[in-house]
Each structure stands twice: as structure tokens, then as C-alpha cells.
Symmetry: C2
């Protein structure tokens, strides 16, 4: 493996010059630059990242800690982050905290150890509750999950508004008893719950909320129990995420209920299957790719300008009405 010394010798210059050329610094003559570049690819030289990082104290690496990698929402977000990072020759360490605060902490410590330039995080609720950006030695941008009390760069959906519009739509479709299945373990779930409550309150209706862990399996089991026990059935159920919605549809299948005839349905995340199933499902679509893109752009800006004012990008969900929320016949 060629070292910088070998390149210097081969080019007949000092290691400092080689380093300067590679870093693109000024103060190098064109002829030297030329000679160095020639030697670099004559020897196939590649700088040793460990040495560079040790000395320079920089890494050009970003961390991305998502709370559930199986969730297509985070998939899309990751892809966007990846795309922008690739275009800017940045490395990304993608980690899956799995909604587990311990894993989340572990990965944040790992980011510290790795001395990353910055981190994009979708925090668990306990993490968000105690979050202070000063606790971390790197800039951090929150994505998908944040609340108004936290001082942090963040990219989120306007969850309250989105849930409110979705719920109102059901009310306007004539539904009265509307249940809400949500992941209580995330800020997002809670805010959507708030929006749901607000919409119901506005119409003088009373809520039936069901908190659960936000996985397909959990939603399926909880929903099955709910549907078997809850008599009379509500008119409609709203799911606070795509995974919960999926479990819900599976549960309906399990207990032999049909939507929207037996019970209307709506949820979040415009996953492909929501328009393939029959009847197709009414959802709020999130601008997932855009959220990821915004997150990494915010992070890059913060890295450039550490003292910049806190910025928050709030995006609007798009209500897509399909058959699952139709008025009962």
C-alpha cells in the first residue's frame, strides 16, 4: 500500500505538497500539482482514512438513525439521504434503533465515537423528552418526530393538521363513532392522536383511542381483540401509520369483516398496497423523499454554520380519498 511519503518521493516533492494538492488547498504551483497527480495515479495511492481522521479531526461521515427500518416511510427517507450524500461524496452510517431507546443510545454513542460530522435522528419518545442539542458533540437534525418545545433543527409533517383533516373527512362522510389506533410511543403518534381528538371535539363526538406498539404484528393482534370485544362496533377506524394500517386490514380479514360496509377505514402513508387492495384505502400521503432530502440539507447547512438559528421544516400531508372511507350504505 502506497503511503503519502511514497508519492512525495515519486513526485520529487515533500509530503506537505502532496497533502496540499490532495486537499485542493491553494499555494501550490500548477507544475507541482501536475506532478503530484501523476504520481498519485501512477502508484494508485489512496489516503489512509484513519490517519487523516486522527490528524484532521474530521470524518465526512454522517449518521442516520431511524426508528424502524422496515417501515417504508423510513426507507424512503433513507434513500433520499443516501442520494444527497452520494452526490456530495459523504459517507452515511445507517442504523436501525428499532424503537428501542437502549439501541438508540448505543448508536448515538457510536456516532460520538466515530466522530461523525452530524446525525439525522428520528427519536423515540423518551429521547425526545430529554433532548438537548448541547448534549451531543455533533450537529443533529430530527426527522419525522419532534415537538414544539424542543430546540432543534427538524423536518416533520404537520401531524396534527393531517390527522385532523383525515378525521374530518370521515366525519363528513357520515361516520360518527370513529376509533383511532396509534403508536403512543412516538411524538408523531401522539400528535396525530391530538389532531384526531381535535377533529372529534369540533364535531361534538367522543373518542375511542387505542394505543399500541407500532408494528404490523402488534396492530393485527390488538385490532383482532378490539374487533371481537368492542360491541357495538365503531363506524370507522383510523390508523396513525402505514404499518398499523396494514395490521388493521389483516385483522379485518381475520375476523371476517368487510370495509367500508361493516366498518370504514383510513390511515397514514400512501403505500402501494393501499391502492391495490379492494376497496382501496383512504390515506394521508407523506412527502417522504422530500423529508429526507430536507433533513440532510438542513444538516449540511448546520455543519457549515454551527451558530445558525434553529430551523424547522414543516410539511403538509396530502389527503387521498379512496373507497375505504365511503359513507355506509
Amino acid at each position: 500500500m502506497a503511503r503519502i511519503q511514497d508519492v512525495a518521493k515519486h513526485a520529487g516533492v515533500s509530503v506537505a505538497s502532496v497533502s496540499r494538492v490532495l486537499a485542493g488547498l491553494p499555494g501550490v504551483s500548477d507544475t507541482t500539482r501536475e506532478r503530484v497527480m501523476r504520481s498519485v495515479d501512477a502508484l494508485g495511492y489512496r489516503p489512509d482514512l484513519a490517519a487523516r481522521r486522527l490528524r484532521s479531526r474530521r470524518t465526512d461521515t454522517l449518521g442516520l438513525i431511524v426508528s424502524d427500518i422496515r417501515n417504508p416511510f423510513f426507507m424512503e427517507v433513507s434513500r433520499a439521504v443516501e442520494d444527497v450524500a452520494y452526490a456530495n461524496r459523504l459517507r452515511v452510517m445507517l442504523c436501525n434503533a428499532d424503537e428501542d431507546p437502549d439501541k438508540e443510545s448505543f448508536y448515538l454513542e457510536m456516532m460520538r465515537d466515530e466522530n461523525v460530522a452530524g446525525v439525522i435522528l428520528s427519536p423515540t419518545l423518551p429521547m425526545l423528552a430529554r433532548y438537548k442539542s448541547a448534549d451531543y458533540p455533533f450537529p443533529m437534525v430530527l426527522v419525522d418526530r419532534c415537538n414544539s418545545t424542543v430546540e432543534a433543527d427538524a423536518v416533520v409533517l404537520d401531524n396534527v393538521d393531517a390527522a385532523m383533516r383525515l378525521t374530518r373527512h370521515l366525519i363528513e362522510a357520515g361516520q360518527r363513532k370513529i376509533a383511532f389506533f396509534y403508536g403512543a410511543g412516538s411524538a408523531t403518534g401522539q400528535q396525530r392522536h391530538d389532531g384526531y381528538l381535535a377533529a372529534l371535539a369540533g364535531a361534538g363526538l367522543s373518542p375511542i383511542a387505542q394505543a399500541l406498539r407500532p408494528t404490523v404484528e402488534e396492530a393485527r393482534v390488538v385490532a383482532r381483540n378490539f374487533l371481537e370485544r368492542q360491541k357495538p362496533l365503531p363506524d370507522a377506524i383510523v390508523a396513525s401509520s402505514g404499518l398499523i394500517l396494514l395490521g388493521l386490514v389483516e385483522a379485518l380479514r381475520d375476523v371476517g369483516l368487510r370495509y367500508p360496509d361493516d366498518i370504514a377505514l383510513a390511515g397514514f402513508d400512501d403505500m402501494p398496497w393501499t391502492r391495490l387492495v379492494t376497496p382501496a384505502i383512504t390515506v394521508v400521503a407523506q412527502p417522504t423523499y422530500e423529508m429526507g432530502r430536507a433533513a440532510i440539507e438542513l444538516l449540511r447547512a448546520r455543519i457549515q454554520q454551527p451558530e445558525q438559528v434553529v430551523r424547522r421544516v414543516v410539511l403538509r400531508g396530502e389527503l387521498i380519498v379512496r373507497e375505504s372511507s365511503s359513507p355506509r350504505k
Copy 2:
């Protein structure tokens, strides 16, 4: 930031002793070990990874380069890799090559620069064609995509067999003209194509194969054209991957055809939506999580024993028959 020197001073020992304690090496007295540990957490010391890596020439980091992160198959594989890595305190760099050989090469170079301990890769076809493990300075395990001529640790499905069984099932269900939509840009797609051809040949039927890029959008467009042009329609279509299958179902929807009545359907990957849509879709399920687990276990073994014989794990797909492949009425 405390350095190892500070710890040594605080504990009244040499840096060598601290290093030895932290590395868990023998040759340290219990009392010294005790004192060091106490100082370590009194000072909140964390070793500098860059320095450690520079000196030791090791990283405890694995690379995982998947060809399409939006594909739920690779999702599941990644999750399995992640889980095992987390349990063993290994870092994982997850990269998305996006079926693009340039991106793939870029990431492989990056892995070299990062001096990773090993890499798990689902190679593109050009990569697989020229693959020689000696070309890389780290151990590598292939996942999902491999062929019999390549000398490499690998974890794959028995693609030929799976496609054959799937096609045979359609034949037995009375279908005669069976089309095959496949991603010709991967070894997996090709092998499934081979299996399809073999099954048809066995029944004396002639093939109608359609190669395409393995994305939902592409499959949808190609299938739409195919369905509008191809007259008379085939009796059935088989998709070589979950994403293609999805595009296919969307295309049927687009042109107003019904399955299995107008045309039967089957494919790969048991994604949740395949059993939610009506009629539900016949598929070959892959043991995705198991494939990821096997891949990282193979890699860890190879890292431990670099000269071990080449190992290949071939897993069997499970045929799940649903309504989409039913005999025509």
C-alpha cells in the same frame, strides 16, 4: 476529551496497561485492572477510534452493499445483518448501489478506504461476471446473487428450482401460454428465467419472456404495453421479483384486466400485500431474514478463518398457492 494518557495518569499506571485492560488482554493484575476501570469511568474515557484504527489496522466495521434498498427483500436481509452485528458490537455501513455498477464500484472502493473487516454484497451482473475475491483486500460474502462459476462465499435461494416449481404449478393449474417478466440485470433474474424455461420445456410449451429493469415503475409501464399489444393474451404471467409483481398488478389495474379470470398471476416474494389483495397472489416466499443471518455468519467465519474453504448456503423457496393462479373458469 480524555485521552488514554489522562486515564493512565489518573490510575497511576502506564498507557500500556490501560490499553491492555481495555483490550481485555491477559498479563494484567486484578488490582491494576480494577484501578484502570475505575479511572476510565471516572473520566468518562472513550478511546479514539481513528487513533486505534490507525495503529491497529483493524476497524470492527462491516460493509453491506445492497442493490436496491427499496426492495423489501433487501430490507429484511439488512435487518438480519444489523441484528447480528448489533449483538456482536460490530458497526455496519449500509449502502445502496441502486443496481448501478458505478455506484457499486464507488462503494466497494469506499469499503477499501474504510478498511472494513468484511463486506456483504448483492452484486450487479457485470460485477458478478468479473468477480474475483482476490481483487479485494477484505473478505466478501455474496448474498441473493451468485452463480456456480464464481468462487465465493454466498447465500442464495435455489432460484432455478423455485422458478421451476412455480411455473410447473401454473402448468398443472391448466395454464398453457405462460409469460415471464424478469429483471435480466441480475443473476437472480436470469436463474429464475432458466427455471421458467426448464419447466416449460419439460411440458413442451414455448416461452414468452420479457426482460426489464427490476423496478415497480418500469414493470408497470412495460406490462401495460405488453398487455395492450400482445394479442391473444397469454394465460398467465410470472414475475421474477416482488417489485415486478407489484408493477404487474398495477398494470392490470390500469388496463382493466382481472386476474385470474382474464389472466393468471404468480411471482416471487411473499410481501404482505400479496395476500391482502383480492384475489390473493400465488408466490414463492424467500427466507429473507435467514438469508441475511446466514450471510453475516458466513462473513464472520471467513474473517476468523481467512483460509477456510469456500462455503455456499443454498436455501429453498416455499411455494405458497393462492387464488391468483387458479384454473380459468
